[in-house]
Subunit: 139 residues, 3 copies
């Protein structure tokens, strides 16, 4: 079984956001799979997807602090500055964290570890709605 579905995520503020439940709600067909893989692909270059701790909001806040420090808006070497100071750092952060996550599917759901959740990483000040193309494959 192959299934492909585009999910549009509402605009969120810059930062790291848990989206596991929202993605699961949009994929009722998951429950029909015994084994498979789910590929979640974000169709943008200034937002990204990763997995991480699903419990403490301060973890997600610390992600934002760290990446802002590691990829500073005021670095002297940026030349692509026409789209605002948050644009070029957003491109770098997106490639560091990645544009897709591939999740194992087992017995009708994502086989995530106890503490794992899906993060939408919004790197722009005003990124707007974000599209995620999901490809489900399994049996």
């Amino acid at each position: 079984m192959w299934l492909q579905r585009r999910i549009t995520l509402d605009a969120r503020p810059r930062g790291f956001h848990l989206i596991t439940r929202e993605i699961e709600r949009e994929l009722p067909e998951l429950s029909g799979l015994t084994v498979g893989l789910a590929h979640l692909f974000i169709e943008h270059t200034s937002a990204s997807l990763t997995l991480n701790e699903n419990a403490s909001p301060d973890v997600r806040r610390d992600f934002e602090s760290h990446f802002d420090e590691a990829v500073p808006e005021d670095a002297a070497y940026w030349t692509h500055t026409a789209e605002g100071p948050d644009d070029m750092p957003a491109h770098i952060k997106a490639s560091l964290l990645g544009f897709s996550v591939t999740l194992p599917v087992t017995d009708g759901g994502f086989a995530l570890g106890t503490w794992q959740g899906i993060y939408l990483c919004e790197h722009r000040d005003r990124g707007g709605a974000r599209r995620v193309l999901v490809t489900l494959h399994g049996e």
Copy 2:
């Protein structure tokens, strides 16, 4: 053919560890595949998987030195500190390196480049045993 198997890796010290042979040993079914993909997924948020150089132990030591420098335990911006100074940096390092690797399978084995090996990246001082869920798919 779909196969899913959970592999438990013994506790290892903080650092970067080659696990290619150990993973292959646990997947005898690889030899039956002509073409396919292997998805290795770590079920944790403070350890990660990547590929890199499989020959020199000093490369793996330099990985540890670099990531300790790039994601410092004593950064002033950490607020999630209740689980110890190595916890929040471990979450960041894990998302930088990634929670899964997808490997091509060709003629009965992983189609790795000559110098590529699978790394378990243990970011905690005492991470304990780590579980990897492998999804094999091919024909």
Copy 3:
């Protein structure tokens, strides 16, 4: 349908290079797929693959500037220095950016966002030709 093909990319200078068109040209079978996934895997440990902005050359130049700053050749902690000052940073950059990209395939082509392109990230001064093993799977 499964298809595996090795694509050899000509040597490029150190930096970030758009290779979307070149990869598509080598995969005429893409047009026969309605839905699927394409896994592009680089068989090296000092070059990497990622996606990012496909329009402005200055974005790709800023990628090079940022990663050279973030993973400096003259860091005091490198011990694996026998292969030149660009070697160990190249290994780190490659694991930060990643060895593979998995792309959704829809209606006969890669389902990339409007601004997304495939980057070959060449981290060595003289990396030479690079091999990418593509695994196409779909129906």
